[in-house]
Structures are given as structure tokens and as C-alpha cells.
Amino acid sequence: MGVSRRISRRKFCSASAAAAVTALASPLPVLAQSAARIVVIGGGFGGASCARALKQIDPKLQVTLVEPNRTFTACPFSNNVIAGLRSIEEQKFGYDKIAASGITVVALEATTINAAARTVGLADGTSLSYDRLVLSPGIELRFDALPGYDEAAAAKMPHAWKAGEQTLLLRKQLEAMDDGGLVVIAAPANPFRCPPGPYERACLIAHYLKTKKPRSKLIILDAKDTFSKQRLFQNAWKELYPGMVEWISLSQGGKVNAVDPATNTLITDFGNHTAQVANVIPPQRAGRIAAIAGATDNTGWCAIDPVTFESRSAPNIHVIGDACLAGAMPKSAFSANAQAKTCANAIATLVAGGSPAAPKLINTCYSLAAPDYGISIAGVYHPKNGLLADVEGAGGVSPLEASRDFRAREADYAQSWFATITAEVFG
């Protein structure tokens, strides 16, 4: 990695010295005389996109990206890794190009935020001053929400909902499982990261089982009665994996109330399921720093202004990506990237003293039912009644009736999207 902690610290020290001078000279940020300082916390699809967009819109902006991990491991396509179709290395991206584009990358965790003083405290005790702060912290898995499911339990019953070691753990468990074993996926209630993700995962695990362990079975225990791309997924299960995938909805007793990691058991009102491989996707909330910043509401997520993505509760702090409540927009990498660019434009306008125009945003999410079988959901969104709402008449899912060639093209576009977006953000 080209981003050494030493360089980051040095840059940061000079930035904070300059900030101190500014603070002494005037109680207000002096935007006309000095370039605005924008700090972005979180180096995933949202934060990294936003930092890059800010620098691209106005190279004079002082943009700092705070991200403790030296490597980003992407979630989209990580279900392919779980299914043995892809290497985890293809999911990994570094911050060298971002640093080379004039953005200061600070490889430390942000631990405190003082919204009144506009400072971010870092894990080493130093701090950064900002004119505008962007939070893109992704999700925190709630280890307090499902009895029996804590961090230790996740080592036995992986969530694999943050890509990396957990992805590989679930992969290893599937590889070690005997033919004829039972795989259970516990899917959470809304809202959560990647709404079609559990069902794509069911497809791709079934693809692995069908190929290598055809007597095995997969059950999805769901805390919901409906889910994203539902008919398309259900058709794909029937068509591609007949008799292998069973979905148990909330009203059929699918909600997991507790787990017992010692016996790999998932407990519902209607009975217990003991799995050879249990993939427990727990409830989630905004990444921790959002709560520290005072940007979360009682849902655990962040209410935002749909034009600027500025927090409803924490002034000068913008929240993008999975952590924000973006109305009709799903928590996806595509959404995070689109929100990041919209937020960057709004911030550039705000620091220049302007007033941002109402945006429109697009989301497109592909899922793979098999390596050559893609399905998608798309939407166009605009601010309405203080939220991001669907533009009526637009969006929707892939046709229920389509040729295998059509599905193959969508699978190809899914791959293309991943190659393009990761190049835009990290390349």
C-alpha cells in the first residue's frame, strides 16, 4: 500500500495546524479564503466514491478519507465466493489510486465526533477539522438483537454479511459439509443491507450443492412475508434447483427468535432447525460512528435530507450509503455510489455558498440465480415529502418470462457493472 500511516499523519498534522490558525482567526469557517475541508469517514462504495467525486468536482477541496482498513473487501459478488465460483482476491481493492488522486487517506479509525467544533477524533488521539463531514460507515451487525447470536456465535454460525473472513468461513463450512446436509439461511426483517442478497445466496449455494452435494437441502428462515425480486427468485428455485430450496416466510413460522451455536440450532415459534451449516444474517443498524455523531434516530439508521444527504439531526454532517434512510432507495453498492456523487455535488455547491438543486438518483441491483442467469431490479428516485421516493412509472424487476439468453445477458451485465463501478471507485 502506498498509504503509509506516517505520511497520513504528517498531512493530517499540517491540516490540523492550518485548521487551528483558521479557528483562531475567526469563529466561522473562512471558505472564501481557504479551500473547504471535507472529511469522509468510511472507504467503501459510498465513502470512496464520495471522496473521489469531491476531488473531481473541485480539485481545490481538501478531501480526507478516513478508513482503518488498508484493503476493502467488496460484498457484491461475495456470494460467488461462498459458492466456490470466485476467489476472494477478486473482491479486494486498495486505496493507492485514491491517495494518488490528491485525497489524503488516513488509515485510522474515527472514534469521536464533535459536531459543534467540527472535529473528528482518531484512534491515535489526534483529530481532524472539517467544514463538512460525510459519514459512509455502512452497517453494524446487531449482536444484541437475536438471543444467542453474538460475535462468538458468528464464528460458528457465520453471517457473511460483511465480506472477508466471514465469507471464507461460510465457504469452508459448505465445503466440509457431507452430501445430504442441511443448510439454513436466516434472513432478517427490513431494512437491511442488500435486500436481494439472502435469496441470491440461496441460489448460488444451491448451485454448489446441486453440482457437488446433490442430496443436500437449503432452507431460508425469513422474518418477512415478501422480499426483493421474489417471483423471479422463486421461479429460479423451481426451474434451476427443484426440490432443493425451501423458503419459510414469517407467517409460516420463519422468524428466527433465538439461536444455539453449541448445537447449530435455529429456534422459531414453529420448531427448531438444526443445520449442518447455519448462515445467520442478523438485524443491522448504521455503522457505529453514525450514532457517535448523533446522526442516528431511534431506528438505529440515519434520517437525511433527500437533496443534500445532510443529517436531519447533526448539522454539517452528511450520511450516505447503507447507513442512511434513503426512502425507497435500497441499501446497495449502486445506491451508495449514486448517493455519493449526488452528495458530493451538493457539498461542492454548499461550500461555494450555493443552494443545491433537487437531484434524481438511479439504482440497479443485479442478482445471480446461477452463474449465467441474472435478474435485476432498478429504480429512479427523487425527493418527495422529505424522502427519496420512487419516480412513478419507472423501475421494476426483470420480466418474469424471459429467454435464457436474456438471463445470460443480465448475468453478463452484472459482471460488467462490478468491473466498472470498482474501477470508478478504486481504479
Binding site: N345, A357, P359, T364, V380, Q415, T420
Partner: protein
Amino acid sequence: MKALRAVIGLATVMASSLPVLAASDPPPGAASCSGCHSGGVTGSSVSRLNGRDAGEIATAMAGFRDGSLPATVMNRIAKGFSDDELRAMAAWLAAQK
């Protein structure tokens, strides 16, 4: 390049009833396109839009919207935009490097 952008920006403003934007500000929706269409990427089957002819982009979007041009997902996306919005997006994308 600046002059070219200014001309395109002016043309956009004249052609549409949208609020006046600085030449560099993306019109509604345009910033989202590069998620798939930034192009020049190995392994991508999706076309690059930056620098492409504005008329070509606007015509394609209108075709996706009314169904005369077959698509997998662009038909669903194009329906979210008016004629004026599509023209503004096309002009902005054409002006991007």
C-alpha cells in the same frame, strides 16, 4: 474545453425549461450513469457514455423509454425521465471527458 462546455451548457439551457445549472453541475440523474457506463474497463460489456454524441444518447434513451429500442434494464430506467431531463443528461454526458 471550457468554452465547449459553456456552449453545450448554454444549448441545454436554451433547449429546456429546467433550472439553470452551471455547466459542470450534473442535471438530475446524470451522476448515477457512471456506475455502469464510465467505460474503458476490461471485462465490461456496457458502453461508455462520456464524450459520446448528445443526440445519440438522447435518441437511445427515448427509444428505451417508448420500447422501440429493446433493452434489459434501460427501459425501466428511461421511464423515470422527461424529454427535457433526457436531453440535459445527454448534453452533460457528452461534455464529460
